[in-house]
Symmetry: C2
Subunit: 568 residues, 2 copies
């Protein structure tokens, strides 16, 4: 049996590097994002793309092997957005038994301490990393993401974000001495002397409620931050995206068991259709931490009802882009076209509202009317998605019926400047693939564009002028939330004013992105995802505020002899 201490030593270099990274926030990544890096001969090792596919295929059409102790039936699995049933079934958890087993498992896990827990968690991440291609298949066929994105965002990038949160947690758990001798001078009398021990104590059971579109990326930071701080974790996946988290839970259980801990420290709580298991779990007294990604309605319900828990939520938002002027028109159009198309706009980071002065913008020194800009952006999207094979790789599939319906109803919302079209997937004939639509609206049409229209629908919103756009950026983020914001301008004073508005509203800003960095992508260990300062999320996914309340410090103190004992 490998010990947790050995695993800590084994992974300590990675941890030390990560500790530097969260301070410096320059470029660093622990897990290779290249699809070709994996497999027997690749620098990252692990399973190759072909091996990952084989492992995925072997999962299909049968019960997923999870040996959780408290099980009372089976739950049917997912249908791929690419048009076929996975045919996997999952154990259905008996809630009382699940929570009881979780609680029983905590003391040993708590008592082993921060270093040992961190060793175990880094080993889990390392094993998941080796299976990134398998996880990618599972993410692709539950979220509808294209394969490359499912691999990167669902694999190494999600693992990096997990490591980032774990690193903050390690830093916070170890920021004070675990033992201290306190000696208080008493003038001429002997000093008072006390021995004090400080123990990191978890909150209890942590509930992670997954989402359909990013089952791993959005769940990993909270899941691993809770686990490494000593809590037991119950993972309630979205019914449409169970498999990626089932694999995650299975890997984690293996490592926990191998290192002498109870596998019940992490369990899957898959649910039957319409069961409402998240609601049931969320108000259980054993549950002291909740991480949730999804609708604002349920996020608010959690905050208003799960008083016994600390609740972290990522919910709806309306991401704005101020378009004022550019000296790289093609770069701007290409960048925006890519951002709108990536995963069919089904990202919490996709721009929704392009705020454009009614009189038009200046691009490469020339005036462009709103109609010209709209036509040029539409052309850029068409160009990007002109080749079907490339288009489906970028767009992926529409994740579910709700998004499809929203897209179908979109034309009624404004003047269509870019029509959505259907693309046949060369490999999966039943996949629902759609290109994004752009609708022209005016800033007066608040009810249209000031609510999240999740999916491949964006609005070009005409405003009085750029000052007005900046004001709208601020107020829309303050009132309706946003995970991202962007500005295009050749005028530094406009950029400064937008930065000020972004700071006021509490949203991360990307300025003049014209190259291969996109507003909807954030880099672990450098960019913060979300701020926690506007209604779209009450935390950044990985910072100190996100991890510090996942544990508490409990001290014990006693007198020491008033004079230090003589040395031997």
């Amino acid at each position: 049996m490998t010990t947790a201490g050995e695993l800590f030593s084994h992974h300590e270099d990675t941890l030390r590097r990560a500790l530097a990274a969260i301070r410096e926030r320059t470029y660093w990544s622990a897990y290779d994002e290249s699809l070709k890096a994996y497999g027997q001969d690749g620098p990252a090792g692990g399973r190759s793309a072909a091996e990952g596919k084989t492992a995925f295929d072997a999962c299909l059409g049968k019960p997923f092997p999870l040996d959780q102790s408290a099980t009372d039936g089976e739950v049917p699995g997912e249908r791929s957005p690419y048009g076929f049933d996975l045919g996997v079934t999952y154990p259905h958890a008996d809630v009382d038994g699940l929570l009881d087993a979780a609680q029983q498992a905590i003391p040993l896990w708590r008592d082993t301490g921060p270093d040992a827990r961190t060793g175990v968690v880094l080993e889990i991440l390392s094993r998941i990393n080796a299976r990134s291609h398998e996880v990618a298949q599972a993410v692709m066929h539950t979220s509808g993401q294209g394969y490359a994105m499912a691999f990167q965002a669902g694999g190494p990038h999600a693992q990096d974000r997990a490591l980032e949160a774990v690193t903050y947690a390690y830093s916070e758990m170890t920021r004070q001495a675990s033992e201290a001798e306190w000696e208080k001078p008493q003038g001429r009398r002997p000093p008072q002397r006390m021995l004090k021990r400080f123990t990191v104590v978890p909150r209890g059971v942590a509930l992670v409620i997954g989402c359909n579109t990013f089952p791993t990326w959005n769940s990993y930071p909270g899941l691993f931050a809770s686990l490494v701080t000593g809590n037991a974790v119950v993972v309630k996946p979205h019914p449409g995206a169970v498999l990626p988290l089932a694999i995650t839970v299975a890997v984690a259980r293996d490592v926990l068991r191998e290192t002498g801990f109870s596998a019940e420290l992490i369990t899957l709580a898959a649910e039957n259709p319409g069961e409402g298991l998240a609601k049931q779990l969320a108000v259980r007294p054993e549950v002291r931490l909740i991480d949730y990604t999804g609708s604002t309605a349920f996020g608010n319900w959690l905050s208003h009802n799960a008083h016994q828990a600390v609740v972290f939520t990522e919910m709806a938002g309306v991401n704005p882009v101020v378009v004022d002027s550019t000296d790289d028109y093609q770069g701007m159009l290409a960048n925006l076209a890519f951002s709108l198309s990536l995963y069919s706009g089904q990202m919490c980071t996709t721009p929704q509202n392009l705020l454009v002065p009614r009189e038009g913008i200046t691009a490469d020194g020339r005036h462009r009317s709103v109609d010209e800009l709209a036509a040029d952006l539409a052309a850029a999207v068409d160009g990007l998605l002109g080749d079907d094979a490339r288009a489906v790789a970028l767009l992926g599939a529409v994740v579910n019926e709700t998004v499809l319906k929203r897209l179908e109803n979109a034309p009624a919302l404004g003047r269509t400047v870019l029509e959505s079209r259907s693309i046949a997937h060369p490999e999966f004939p039943d996949a629902v693939v759609r290109t994004p639509t752009i609708l022209l609206v005016d800033e007066q049409d608040h009810e249209t564009y000031l609510q999240e229209c999740f999916g491949p629908v964006s609005f070009m919103v005409t405003t009085d002028n750029t000052g007005d756009s900046i004001k709208l950026l601020r107020t829309s983020v303050q009132q309706h939330g946003a995970i991202t914001a962007a500005v295009y301008s050749t005028d530094e004073s406009v950029i400064r004013a937008t930065e000020d508005a972004a700071i006021e509203a509490g949203v991360a800003l990307s300025c003049n992105l014209t190259d291969a960095v996109y507003v909807n992508q954030s880099a672990a260990f450098s960019d913060f995802h979300a701020t926690g300062a506007n209604p779209a999320a009450n935390s950044a996914l990985t910072d100190a505020a996100y991890v510090a309340s996942r544990f508490r410090i409990v001290q014990s103190r006693r007198h020491l002899p008033t004079a230090a004992p003589a040395s031997d």
Copy 2:
């Protein structure tokens, strides 16, 4: 005008030392706790005891000088628990105007950055420290504490706790670079390069709701942590303890104004009797942080209603002491007698339930029955409080009618083993001074001892055996909360078992205190006050979890040229 930057340099050594202290948690203190250290010739400088008294007397009988902009009347002031009206009046704030002015003041304070804000806040603390004797008078004559305690707990100890929270906040605000160049390799192509700026952004307006017994000590950590992280602070004092916080606010406003910031960053919101101002302020959308010390009922109301804010609460608890055995019987009795008597048991840290095996304990190798132990403890209290002058200094005065009523009704709750008696105060004839009472109850009498009986009332609770006492410690803390717990035993296995129970329940434990350290005292920079892990408080008053969510990080990023520019 002194600049904030100059103040940072001036106080930087203190900050650096404090940063080491929160890591090491050995003995350290920034502010001298000796009453004699202050005054022209003392090592701590500032105002002497006599000068503090003069300054306090000069406050009495007139409006307190606060030049807050949004004022709409006057609020009557406090009556001293020592039996006279202070005759001070305070401005009544116009809530809309107050919050508006607070919000207007934030941007400049935010933009000056963590170092400058820390410089200003350390200067405020330094000025308050110089006025510790004046604050001590104000604390004494609002809380009823004896003068020495009012000085130490209300002065230097409160200032140390404030500095501790500020130091954690500084550490968290500065833990990541404020600017980073991100350079991602792209194989043979030039690397992607981005410039990223990270800005610490406050949450908004912070509301501090003070309590009657520790107006400064319980308010300072949240107040100064919120201020240093860039928020504006509205201080809503307890109607019975306004003056100590009015002085604090006035000093802070002076320093803010002198350094070029708006004084409206900190304001006093004194209320008329029965006004319910805390409730009104707590649900205002501008208010994003709330720190509260007081009843469980109102603390829960805040958590359930102030959804727009992060709410930190310290509420009721029942502090247990497991009495198993001792090899220093006199030391134990003296230590417990002091803990029960200090400030008439009106501390959130005072032991309430002494858990004693029905068959008695072993002390100095001899068996003592419960009756013997009760009589010996009663005698120790009587001995401690035998001299009236010494007794009133230790006991202080009963803070208000509610506590007095509770004490008067106590005899009905159990068998009296120590009667409370009235003591005439040699200096203040109208002061209500009472010695503590101890009642004998059985562990079956849950309804009696499993609720907080705040004031000079403690219970000796007989249990089946020490194992049972330890179990009762755990369950009572889990269900009803506690800020402190203690154990007396000569058996290391009993201590270990109590430590395990304290860790499970999430309460700080003091083992075998027989010397001049008391369970109801915690040392800043070493002991954590409260854990946040049981119902008595949802946070420790000063740790990273307490400060990290008082601000957010907002980033702005832009491309850098793909090749680094040549140097000049």
